[in-house]
């Protein structure tokens, strides 16, 4: 089976800072990593191919330095990688990004399964995976924790807030995966060395036969007006002492504020 994994390179920090002037992510001095959920997607792709045969192709849309993330994916054991990179793709929202990725996947040829992480660590939208499925016109399952392939059919277990949902669909299909689906492997030395030697083609709009008006900033229906962190409110008042005294004071305060 042919598996395509879509990944994103993100800053390695859980505390993404935003430049208050430009409203963009501050990336200086922050090392880049593969979006952690995407590492799970790569791992799942490799496992499926180890089990069913075929190959794993990893793609990313991003700046030239995103090649680093693809090398990491290759060193984990992916067979091939393609970097989708062009100024024409810059500033794309989730819709334009989904469009570009779907064009690239079409360009790759026959595929059985597209894997994505459930969402990116930085943007947190969780929209690109479903967007790609829509643009490809294939069935999708999001937040998948377990997947089983049986010929041309797939069974996926989804994690919902209070239950699991098991759904079946025909391949080709797209799934987005959660962290708990697997434990991503460490790259073994032989793959680290092999990954260094592999060529990573760079595809622009012409290579994927994309309509320029649907790419990048031009192809993005979303406008980011402002990005900001919620303002920090004053710390609450901490009542300390023995329980009875604290409760009495608390009730007094609530009465005073006319809340009870």
């Amino acid at each position: 089976m042919n598996v395509v994994v879509c990944i994103k390179q993100v800053p390695d920090t859980t505390e993404v800072r935003i430049d208050p002037v430009t409203n963009t992510l501050v990336r200086e001095g922050v090392p880049s990593i593969i979006n952690p959920f995407d590492e799970n997607a790569i791992e799942e792709g490799i496992r499926l191919v180890e089990k069913h045969g075929g190959k794993v192709t990893v793609i990313t849309m991003g700046p030239p330095q995103a090649e680093e993330a693809l090398r990491r994916a290759l060193s984990m054991g992916a067979d091939e990688a393609v970097l989708i990179s062009s100024r024409a793709f810059a500033g794309g929202d989730t819709w334009a990004t989904s469009y570009v990725l779907s064009r690239a996947i079409r360009k790759l040829g026959d595929f059985d399964l597209v894997l994505c992480g459930k969402q990116a660590f930085d943007g947190d939208t969780a929209q690109v995976g479903p967007g790609v499925a829509e643009q490809l016109g294939i069935p999708q399952a999001t937040y998948v924790i377990e997947v089983e392939i049986d010929g041309k059919r797939m069974r996926a277990r989804r994690v919902l807030e209070d239950r699991y949902e098991v759904i079946e669909m025909r391949l080709p299909a797209l799934i987005t995966v959660v962290k708990q689906i697997n434990e991503p492997r460490h790259p073994r030395l032989k793959n680290v060395m092999a990954a260094k030697k592999k060529a990573i083609p760079v595809w622009g709009p012409d290579d994927i036969e994309a309509d320029p008006s649907l790419c990048g900033l031009d192809g993005s229906p979303t406008n980011v007006v402002r990005t900001f962190l919620p303002e920090r409110h004053h710390e609450g008042e901490m009542l300390q002492g023995d329980t009875e005294a604290v409760v009495t004071r608390l009730v007094g305060k609530l009465h005073k504020l006319e809340l009870v």
Partner: protein, 388 residues
């Protein structure tokens, strides 16, 4: 002369991968591995899956074909993360190396490949109850009978003993002729007459196997003779010379772990209203540790690099082993000192580091033997100068 302290891009990629693996997979379990008192198979298997077991072995035999400097740097990371796993890794090389260098094509196919892939673990048997530093006193007897050798005797303290499946064993085909009768053989666990004795209880490394190898009319096929009869001393000395690089780097890795524990502790431990890293008494210990670690590391890297160049490296290997092991003792002792009373408790890893450090001054040639090796070489160099 070009002196370049940069690693190649390939090496950098390998070291980054190993560092990440060690930090995430080995270090968090190191304490438990030590306390368990059983051979650390899960860690060793992970190391094998990372393709680490055969770094200097040519690719055709399942290795990485990357040389001893790369091997040493990886061994350092392993030792920093988990000294026990690092020791298994070091002892494994003592079986792998002589087969790689002296083995026939058949021997390499049969034994080197599974050792290089880590499918099987190796061990090396030279030491006997009465033959430690004095290798010429090896009493294990080997007698040729038709197309096999019959071995009788025993080895002690053999690292990985009982858990390893492939051993290089030094026996004597001509007792009374000292080192001249020594002969190396490849043995497999399960060979008739080859069994294991008790596992030693030690000051440290409770989970490292150090067993007796027992030969009672052990039958070894003649094709398992390594190199030639009476050439075992050379096999042993060459193997131990490489082993010294392994021991030196193991000591560097352990000393680094001690520094990695001591500095953050000093930066958070408060006394007299401030963190103790503000005090010169502590700063001087940290400075000495860091300086000596760096010196030992460079000396060891140099020995490994010389080995990779195919030139004489034995003196540097002995110097590295001597300096690194004694440095490690000092560094781990300072780490305990910086921790104060807490350092003496089992709540912190530094007391273990200190116990583990002592081994490096003894194993694979005591500090005293290293001094003999070094002095011997230095005196010869000066003697040669005088002749000229």
């Amino acid at each position: 002369m070009v002196v370049d302290f940069h690693f190649t891009e390939d090496q950098q990629g390998v070291f980054a991968a190993i560092k990440e693996f060690c930090d995430e997979e080995l270090a968090p379990n190191a304490q438990k591995v030590d306390e368990a008192g059983v051979f650390p198979w899960p860690s060793v298997k992970k190391v094998a899956e990372m393709d680490l077991m055969g770094i200097p072995v040519p690719e055709e035999y399942g290795g990485m074909g990357m040389g001893f400097l790369t091997w040493a740097v990886c061994a350092e990371s392993l030792s920093t993360a988990c000294t026990t796993t690092g020791a298994v890794f070091g002892a494994h090389m003592l079986a792998l190396y002589p087969i790689m260098v002296f083995g026939t094509e058949e021997q390499k196919k049969k034994y080197l490949t599974p050792l290089a892939t880590g499918e099987r673990i190796g061990g090396f048997g030279l030491t006997e109850p009465n033959a430690g530093s004095d290798a010429g006193s090896v009493a294990t007897r080997a007698e040729r009978h038709g197309d096999e050798y019959i071995l009788n005797g025993s080895k002690i303290f053999i690292t990985n003993g009982g858990d390893a499946e492939i051993y290089v064993v030094i026996a004597n085909v001509e007792p009374g002729r000292g080192t001249r009768g020594l002969t190396a053989f490849i043995l497999e666990s399960g060979m008739e007459g080859f069994t294991f004795g008790k596992n030693e209880k030690k000051m440290g490394y409770q989970s490292l196997s150090n067993r007796e190898l027992i030969f009672q009319d052990a039958r070894v096929p003649a094709e398992n003779l390594l190199l030639k009869e009476r050439r075992g001393f050379r096999v042993a000395m060459d193997t131990l010379a490489v082993g010294r690089i392994g021991m030196a780097i193991g000591a560097v890795g352990l000393a680094q772990a001690a520094l990695d524990a001591a500095v953050p502790y000093a930066q958070t431990r408060e006394q007299f209203g401030q963190t103790i890293d503000n005090f010169q008494a502590i700063q001087f210990m940290i400075a000495d540790m860091a300086t000596e670690i760096e010196a030992a590391r460079l000396l060891t890297y140099q020995a490994a690099w010389l080995k990779d160049q195919g030139v004489e490296f034995e003196k540097q290997a002995a110097m590295a082993k001597l300096f690194a092991s004694e440095m490690c003792m000092r560094a781990t002792s300072k780490a305990v000192q910086i921790h104060g009373g807490y350092g003496y408790t089992k709540e912190f890893p530094v007391e273990r580091y200190m116990r583990e450090a002592k081994l490096f001054e003894i194993v694979e040639g005591t500090s005293e033997i290293q001094r003999l090796v070094i002095a011997n070489r230095v005196l010869k160099e000066y003697h040669a100068k005088k002749q000229r």
